[in-house]
Symmetry: C2
Subunit: 202 residues, 2 copies
């Protein structure tokens, strides 16, 4: 069996649920939120801040220029964000080396390239993503369909930018994955069964 399974996912596609259930079914470790917590512990930054850097726009991270001169080394954001990424890389590598596991998001497919992971990408169509977000929304969230749709697209845009910035690859491009699945078709549990049966043969 492949020791590490990485899961990239569009927001609202069910990738996280799929990852968790897949880990349960295979009886291996599951990492998602845990990575944020571990980075926060190691860097003494708040989880919220780490989350923001890892999930949100990397535009702040770009070096800025002023009058034609790069102020790269004077930008504290740039260094902080880069060190969060470096910490994430080291944490993900040590998690993957510790035991077989499923890792959701966090550029893990790229970071663990030399460990030859089984790389899954999960996506769906907008109606199914809206429905799933509604199901999982906190009680006090009262977004209209239009607002929710905008939120979904914004999260995806941030993930795409972040992934592109740190990996140089196009997020969701099939050539960087072994399997891409559309959760608008079938049930998550059936996808989990299918992937686990396949992965056990690798």
């Amino acid at each position: 069996m492949k020791k590490v399974i990485t899961i990239g996912r569009e927001f609202g596609s069910g990738g996280r649920e799929l990852g968790r259930k897949l880990a349960e079914r295979l009886g291996i470790a599951y990492y998602d939120r845990e990575i944020i917590t571990a980075i926060a512990e190691k860097t003494a930054l708040s989880e919220e801040y780490v989350d923001r850097v890892l999930e949100r726009r990397p535009t702040q991270i770009y070096p800025f220029s002023h009058s034609g001169t790069f102020y790269l080394s004077f930008d504290p954001h740039f260094h902080l964000n880069n060190s969060i990424y470096a910490e994430q890389t080291s944490i993900i590598r040590s998690m993957a080396d510790r035991s077989p596991c499923v890792i959701v998001g966090r550029c893990a497919d790229y970071i663990l390239k030399d460990r030859d992971p089984f790389r899954v990408f999960v996506y769906s169509d907008m109606p199914h993503r809206l429905a799933r977000c509604r199901e999982n929304a906190p009680e006090n969230e009262n977004l209209t369909d239009k607002e929710l749709r905008q939120k979904i697209l914004a999260v995806d845009r941030d993930r795409r930018k972040y992934y592109r910035f740190f990996t140089g690859q196009n997020w969701g491009d099939r050539k960087d994955y072994d399997l891409s699945i559309n959760t608008a078709v079938g049930k998550i549990d059936d996808w989990v069964e299918l992937i686990s049966l396949f992965v056990e043969k690798l």
Copy 2:
């Protein structure tokens, strides 16, 4: 179970083998070469000609302009090729309506959109595609690795152009498929098992 499974595939990825084995395993019809034969019979054109039009560059099909005037209606190629496509559309629809089946290539995912097929895209990396093409090559084919690679890329380019021309969609774009698989990982027989188990639940 979904009644129709369509398979798009990169050249040399094993999509045809996968489609044939999947149909065998599910005990349903399989169409690939049969579509060309049926069109040739219906149009009284040679199979070779139909094959060339359906698999090769659609550039001949574009209307050409001369001194700013379109000679659309005077271009015999344009009409012939369009009628081959129309014939293909009608043949694929009637095949899909006759009985459950697997259809490889031929824009079937697009043509059968209203029949809600299960849409698979099969791809691989270049070393595996080269190896597969060598295995399946006719005895008198003596291409160098470079020539074979060029041939593979040229066939893909033609498929992409053809698909784009007739569907307006990007060939291989995940949003138009339910499952995309990388046959560089695992064995074709295991992918077949995985897909058949899943499709039987739909």
